[in-house]
């Protein structure tokens, strides 16, 4: 495992997730959240939000580095799509139990798929296995 490249991929994934979610949730979906304002905190707990994003980026990158480990953006994007599908499952369950709107659900699913596909492409582009390691 190439720890230096893996760490660089983690940092890139975290920075990307932070900015993507700021634009997607903070700007594009702002009106949808205002329509359902009673569901949300009036002010997000930003340190926890960033810690959560960092943990997601760490696990997302760690799984790719340890088990996929290929220097290929397309492979990374495919991996990201599978993670996006996993998250979409969670979003569907959330729709059934919490009073979110179908519009929010659709934007969450689309956002998750785009976010993880791009994050995966980024990780796949940055990570390079060590020359003597076996590529699965």
């Amino acid at each position: 495992m190439n720890h230096k490249r893996g760490f660089a991929a983690f940092i890139a994934a975290f920075v990307f997730i932070f900015f993507f979610e700021f634009i997607w949730h903070g700007m594009l979906m702002k009106s949808s959240y205002l329509e359902t304002a009673s569901l949300w905190r009036s002010q997000p707990v930003f340190p926890l939000l960033m810690l959560g994003q960092a943990v997601v980026a760490f696990a997302f990158t760690g799984l790719y580095v340890s088990k996929v480990g290929v220097n290929c953006p397309v492979t990374g994007a495919g991996y990201g799509v599978v993670i996006g599908i996993l998250c979409a499952g969670g979003d569907l369950i959330r729709l059934a139990v919490q009073p979110i709107t179908v519009k929010i659900l659709c934007l969450w699913i689309a956002g998750g798929l785009i976010e993880f596909a791009l994050a995966g492409a980024l990780v796949g582009a940055i990570y390079k296995p060590l020359s003597n390691s076996t590529v699965a």
């Binding site: 905190r41 340890s66 139990v97």
Partner: protein, 137 residues
């Protein structure tokens, strides 16, 4: 493919029963304390098919990842995948807690239960799924 389907079914049945036991029985009181955050029970029942589809998507993605990167590793590899995915899920729980007025104990209980669920799901998938040909580890 047969093993893939069997692993999916085995893990799905466990996840469905675990979800019912945890959310429908064990955490019932916690949910009752935060009733304003949830749909009324009758509404949940009318949307129950989305829970079934959502759980199926989660398990499908789990088995796909296992088959692509962990196959041949058996139960231990499945448990490792479960732990790695639950670490990501805990990150998502933290982000959800940051924007949703959940009580902290619900996040803690959910994360502990999620870890147990993912470990057992991984063990089931690892025990059932076998790669088509004998893979060299």
């Amino acid at each position: 493919m047969k093993r893939f389907v069997l692993a999916f079914i085995g893990a799905y049945v466990f996840t469905f029963l675990w979800g019912w036991l945890l959310n429908g029985v064990v955490l019932n009181d916690v949910y009752a304390e935060t009733a304003t955050l949830w749909r009324p029970r009758s509404e949940m029942m009318s949307l129950f098919h989305w829970i079934v589809i959502g759980q199926a998507l989660v398990i499908l993605a789990f088995v796909m990842i296992y088959a692509c990167g962990f196959a041949g590793g058996g139960v231990i590899a499945g448990i490792r995948l479960g732990i790695m995915l639950e670490i990501a899920a805990i990150g998502m729980h933290l982000a959800i807690y940051a924007v949703w007025p959940y009580p902290g104990k619900l996040i803690v209980y959910g994360s502990i239960a999620g870890l147990i669920e993912m470990v057992i799901t991984g063990a089931i998938v690892g025990a059932i799924y076998k790669p088509r040909t004998t893979a060299s580890a």
